[in-house]
C-alpha cells in the first residue's frame, strides 16, 4: 500500500496542472448545464462556441491526463529508470488507477450528484445508477485511453495512435456500409464492444506485467482484424430470418399488410440532387388493417426482391425501417433503395417484386392519463417536461435515462384548443390520434456526462395518404395517455407485389401522389403552425420555461 501511495503522491505532485484543467472544465460544464436546460445562451460567440465544445474538450483533457499519467512511467522502451527499480506491477497500475479515480471518476461522480440536485431529481435512489455510469466511463473512455497510453511512449505517439484508431474506425464503418445486411444485427455491435473492452484490458495487463509492446500492438491489430472478420463473416441473412421468423399460428401477424396498387407517384420532372447519386429511394404504399387498439407494430426491416427479365434476380438486402403503427393507422409507406444503375435500366419496365417486412409487435400496458397544465407536465418515470412551443414539442428531463419504451397518445380534439377544434371541423384527418413512441428497450442509465437526460417528445399525426406527418402543438388541457409497450414477439411478413413499375414508387419532388387527395382549404401544416403564435392561441399556453 505504501508503494501505491508513494507513486500516487508523486503523480499528484507532477500532474496537478492536468488535473486542475480537467476539474475546471468539469466545473464549467456543471455551471453551464442548468443554463442549457433553461435555454440560456451566452451572447459572446467565442464563449458560446467553447461551451458547445465543452464535452469534447473534457474528453480530450481526460484522455490527455490519463496518457500523461501512464507515460510518467512509460511502458514502452528499455531506457526508463523505473523498470530496474522495485516497482511491483500491480501496485504501479493500482497507483495510476487511484489517480484516475481521484482526478476523474470521483469529481465526475460528484458533479453528477450536483446536477441531479440542480435538476431536482432524487439523488439517493440514483446512486447505484451513477456508479454504473462510472463503470461505463471506465470501460469506454478510461480503458481506451489506458490502452493507447500503455503502447505509446509520449503524447505525440499517443495522438498518432488515436488518429490511426480513428481512421481504422472510419474504415470499419466504410466496410460495414459495403456489406449487405450489416448494421441490421445488433448482436454484432455487442461482440465488437466486448472485443474492444477485452483488447483494452488485455494490453493494459500485458504491458504492466510483461512490457511486451510489440505483442500488445499486435493484439490491437489482431483485435481490429477480428472485428473486421466478425463484420464480414457474420451470417446476417440467416440471423435476420431467425430474428424475424415467418408468422405461425402461435405467432400470427399483428396486422394485415396489403400492397396498394392504386397509389403511385406522378411521373414528372424531378429536381436533381434530391437523393444519393448511387441509390434511388422508393416508397411502397401499403394498407394496414386489423391492428387492434392495444397493439403497436414497429416495422424495423424491409427487403425488396425483384425478378428481372432473363430470370435475373436482384435483392435490396435488408434495410432498416422505423415506421411505427398504432391504432387508427390505415396506411404506411416503407422505404427501400434501388441501385441507380439498375433503376435507370428497369424503371419503366414492369418487374415482379416481393417485399419482406420485419416487424415487432408490442402490447400496450395500462395507460396513465396525464393532463397538460399550463406549459408543464410530469410524465410517469419521473420525467419533467416543459412545452417548447417554438418547436411544437415537449422538452423533457429525466434522471439517468430517457422515458422508454413509451407510447403516448393525445386525446384529440382538445375542446379548449381552438386550432384543434377548427382543424376537426375542416380536416377529416384531424380526429386521428396524435402519438409519440420510443420503442427502444430500457437498458439502464445512459452513458452520458450529465445524469439529467434532456429529450423531446413530439406528438405527430399523419395525413393525406398518411404519407405526410406533422408535429402538433400541445395545448394546455390536452389529455395524454402514457403507456408502456411490452414487446410480444418479432415476425416477418412476405408480401408478393406482383408486377410493378419502379418509376411509380420513386417520390416526385415536390411530392405528388396519384390520385391526389382533395386538399383542405388551408394546408394542414399552415393551420397548425399558426397555433404557435401567442396572439392566435386561445388556450392557456405560455411560452416556455423559466
Amino acid at each position: 500500500m505504501s508503494q501505491i501511495l508513494n507513486i500516487f503522491q508523486k503523480d499528484a505532485r507532477h500532474h496537478w496542472p492536468e488535473v486542475l484543467v480537467s476539474w475546471a472544465l468539469l466545473s464549467v460544464y456543471v455551471w453551464n448545464q442548468p443554463r442549457k436546460w433553461a435555454n440560456q445562451t451566452v451572447d459572446i460567440r467565442l464563449v458560446s462556441t467553447l461551451l458547445n465544445m465543452l464535452p469534447a474538450l473534457m474528453f480530450v483533457a481526460w484522455a490527455f491526463l490519463i496518457a500523461r499519467l501512464v507515460q510518467g512511467e512509460t511502458l514502452v522502451g528499455d531506457r526508463q529508470f523505473w523498470i530496474t527499480r522495485p516497482y511491483v506491477w500491480y501496485k504501479l497500475l493500482a497507483a495510476k488507477l487511484l489517480v484516475i479515480l481521484m482526478s476523474f471518476h470521483i469529481p465526475l461522480f460528484i458533479s453528477q450528484i450536483v446536477l441531479l440536485r440542480l435538476g431536482k431529481f432524487p439523488v439517493v435512489s440514483s446512486l447505484g445508477s451513477l456508479v454504473l455510469i462510472q463503470f461505463m466511463f471506465a470501460s469506454i473512455l478510461v480503458a481506451g485511453a489506458l490502452a493507447l497510453s500503455v503502447v505509446t511512449s509520449g503524447i505525440g505517439q499517443a495522438s498518432l495512435a488515436l488518429l490511426i484508431v480513428f481512421l481504422l474506425t472510419l474504415g470499419i464503418a466504410g466496410i460495414e456500409s459495403l456489406i449487405p445486411n450489416a448494421g441490421m444485427v445488433d448482436d454484432v455491435d455487442g461482440v465488437q464492444a466486448l472485443l474492444y473492452i477485452a483488447c483494452c484490458v488485455t494490453i493494459v495487463l500485458l504491458q504492466y506485467t510483461r512490457r511486451r509492446t510489440l505483442l500488445s500492438r499486435m493484439v490491437i491489430l489482431g483485435t481490429i482484424t477480428v472485428m473486421v472478420l466478425v463484420l464480414a463473416l457474420t451470417p446476417y441473412e440467416p440471423i435476420l430470418r431467425h430474428n424475424y421468423p415467418l408468422a405461425t399460428k402461435d405467432h400470427p401477424l399483428p396486422a394485415k399488410f396489403t400492397f396498394d396498387r392504386t397509389l403511385t407517384f406522378a411521373h414528372g420532372e424531378r429536381l436533381p440532387g434530391r437523393w444519393v447519386e448511387e441509390e434511388v429511394p422508393l416508397e411502397l404504399p401499403f394498407q394496414v388493417a386489423d391492428l387492434d387498439d392495444k397493439s403497436i407494430v414497429q416495422l424495423q426491416a424491409i427487403r425488396l426482391d425483384l425478378e428481372l427479365s432473363g430470370g435475373r434476380r436482384w435483392t435490396s438486402h435488408w434495410h432498416a425501417l422505423s415506421n411505427v403503427l398504432s391504432s387508427g393507422r390505415t396506411r404506411t409507406w416503407p422505404g427501400v433503395s434501388v441501385e441507380k444503375k439498375l433503376y435507370d435500366e428497369i424503371k419503366d419496365t414492369p418487374v415482379k417484386a416481393r417485399v419482406s417486412l420485419g416487424m415487432r409487435w408490442f402490447r400496450l400496458g395500462a395507460a396513465t392519463s396525464v393532463t397538460v397544465e399550463g406549459d408543464r407536465i410530469s410524465l410517469p418515470g419521473n420525467a419533467q417536461c416543459v412545452d417548447d412551443m417554438s418547436l411544437n414539442w415537449l422538452r423533457c428531463f429525466s434522471a439517468l435515462k430517457q422515458l422508454k419504451p413509451v407510447f403516448i397518445a393525445a386525446q384529440l380534439p382538445n375542446p379548449e384548443c381552438r386550432v384543434a377544434r377548427e382543424a376537426t371541423a375542416e380536416e377529416p384527418w384531424a380526429a386521428s390520434a396524435a402519438t409519440y413512441s420510443d420503442l427502444q428497450a430500457d437498458t439502464g442509465p445512459e452513458f452520458d456526462l450529465s445524469p439529467v437526460q434532456d429529450f423531446s417528445i413530439g406528438l405527430s399525426r399523419f395525413y393525406f395518404y398518411e404519407d405526410h406527418e406533422i408535429r402538433l402543438p400541445i395545448c394546455s388541457g390536452t389529455r395524454l395517455l402514457v403507456s408502456r409497450p411490452e414487446l410480444q414477439y418479432a415476425v416477418r411478413d412476405e408480401v408478393d407485389l406482383g408486377e410493378i413499375t419502379l418509376a411509380n414508387y420513386h417520390s416526385t419532388f415536390p411530392r405528388k401522389v396519384i390520385p391526389p387527395v382533395q386538399r383542405p382549404p388551408r394546408a394542414p401544416s399552415d393551420s397548425l403552425s399558426r397555433n404557435i403564435l401567442p396572439e392566435v392561441v386561445p388556450c392557456k399556453t405560455r411560452i416556455a420555461a423559466d
Partner: protein, 323 residues
C-alpha cells in the same frame, strides 16, 4: 588494482585455464549458453560466464560487442533468444519488482524523471527499498556534491549520472550493475564515480561495462572481454596481467614470420631483425622453448607487462578466442 578476496573458493571450470573464481550456484551473475538475436543479427552467441561474489567485474569490448544487450538480459529488460541467466540466484526472466531491492542498476542512457528535483527523486525512491541507508544517501549527496533543489533535467550529464548512481548505491545493493557509467564524462567526474564504486566494492558485487579501460584497470578485480557477441575471456585481473606479455625478440638477421605460430601469439610482426608479438598465455619457460624452436638463437628477448588498454587492443585486433 584491488586484490580479490581470498575467501573466494577457486573452482576452475572446464576449458578455463585462467583460474577464474567460479562458485557455481552462488555467483551473483551466471549465464549458460546465452544467445540473443535481433532478427537476423546475432547480438550474443552461447555466452557462458559468471561473476563471483564480491568481485568488481568489468565487461569490456568494442562497440556493438553485445555488452549492453547482455546487461539488459540480466536486468530482464531484454529476453534471451536461448540459454539462461541468473542474477542473485534468480532466473533473469523473473527479475522484476522486489528482486530489484538488491540490485542497483545505472546505465549511461537511462531516462530519469527530469521534472523531479534531486532531493525529491531520492525521497521518492527511499520507500521502495527496505535497506535504504539515509546516512549513506547523505554521504553520497555530499560526496557527489549533488544540488538537491535542482531538477534532474537541469543537471549536466555527469551530475545526472552521479544522481543516478547515488540512488543506486544508497540502499546498499548486493549487486551493482553499471552500463557504461563513465561514457562521455569528464575525468574529474570519472574519478569521483570510480572512487564511489571503490568504496562500495567488497560489500557489493559490481558488474560494470565500460570503454574506459584506464578507469576499469584502477578498480576491477575481474574482467571479461566480449567481441561480436562472443566471450573472448573472463578472468581475474591478476591472472590477465600475468597472462599477457608483449614480447620483443632481437635476432641476428632479418627473418620472416613463420606461418605456424601458436594461437596465443597475437599481432605477430617483424621489422628488420626485431620480431614483436603479444603472448596471451605467458609462460616464460614454454615461451623460450617455442621461440628457440621457431627462430633459433635469439640475441635478446624482452617480456613487457601490458596495460589493459594494450591487452584490449591486441585482443580486439586478433580474431581468435584467447580464453
Amino acid at each position: 588494482m584491488r586484490a580479490f578476496p581470498a575467501s573466494c573458493g577457486v573452482q576452475v571450470s572446464a576449458g578455463d585455464a585462467s583460474g577464474t573464481c567460479y562458485s557455481i550456484g552462488v555467483d551473483p551473475i551466471q549465464t549458460e549458453g546465452l544467445s540473443k538475436r535481433f532478427g537476423r543479427v546475432r547480438a550474443l552467441e552461447g555466452l557462458r560466464f559468471s561473476v563471483p561474489q564480491g568481485a568488481v567485474h568489468a565487461l569490456v569490448g568494442p562497440n556493438g560487442a553485445g555488452k549492453t544487450t547482455l546487461i539488459k538480459i540480466l536486468m530482464n529488460i531484454f529476453r534471451a533468444s536461448s540459454g539462461s541467466a541468473s542474477v542473485l540466484g534468480v532466473d533473469s526472466k523473473k527479475i522484476s519488482g522486489k528482486a530489484f531491492e538488491s540490485i542497483g542498476y545505472v546505465s549511461e542512457n537511462q531516462q530519469l524523471p527530469g521534472w523531479m528535483r534531486v532531493g525529491a527523486f531520492l525521497s521518492y525512491l527511499r520507500p521502495f527499498y527496505p535497506t535504504w541507508d539515509r546516512g549513506l544517501e547523505e554521504q553520497l549527496v555530499k560526496h557527489f556534491d549533488l544540488p538537491l533543489d535542482r531538477k534532474l533535467k537541469q543537471l549536466s550529464r555527469g551530475m545526472q549520472m552521479k544522481a543516478a548512481l547515488a540512488s543506486a548505491l544508497a540502499f546498499r545493493p548486493k549487486l551493482i550493475v553499471l552500463d557504461e557509467p563513465f561514457s562521455g564524462l569528464d575525468p574529474l567526474v570519472r574519478d569521483e564515480l570510480g572512487k564511489a564504486l571503490m568504496e562500495r566494492a567488497g560489500d557489493s558485487t559490481i558488474f560494470v561495462s565500460s570503454h574506459d579501460l584506464a578507469e576499469i584497470e584502477g578498480f576491477a578485480t575481474h574482467i571479461a572481454y566480449l567481441d561480436s557477441g562472443s566471450l573472448r575471456f573472463s578472468e581475474e585481473m591478476a591472472s590477465l596481467n600475468a597472462r599477457f606479455r608483449e614480447v620483443e625478440l632481437s635476432l641476428d638477421a632479418p627473418v620472416a614470420i613463420p606461418k605456424d605460430l601458436p594461437a596465443n601469439w597475437l599481432q605477430a610482426g617483424a621489422m628488420d631483425c626485431v620480431v614483436r608479438f603479444v603472448d596471451a598465455a605467458f609462460n616464460q619457460e614454454k615461451l623460450e622453448a617455442e621461440i628457440a624452436q621457431r627462430f633459433g638463437p635469439v640475441r635478446k628477448v624482452e617480456y613487457k607487462p601490458m596495460s589493459l588498454r594494450a591487452v584490449f587492443i591486441a585482443t580486439a585486433k586478433s580474431n581468435q578466442k584467447v580464453l
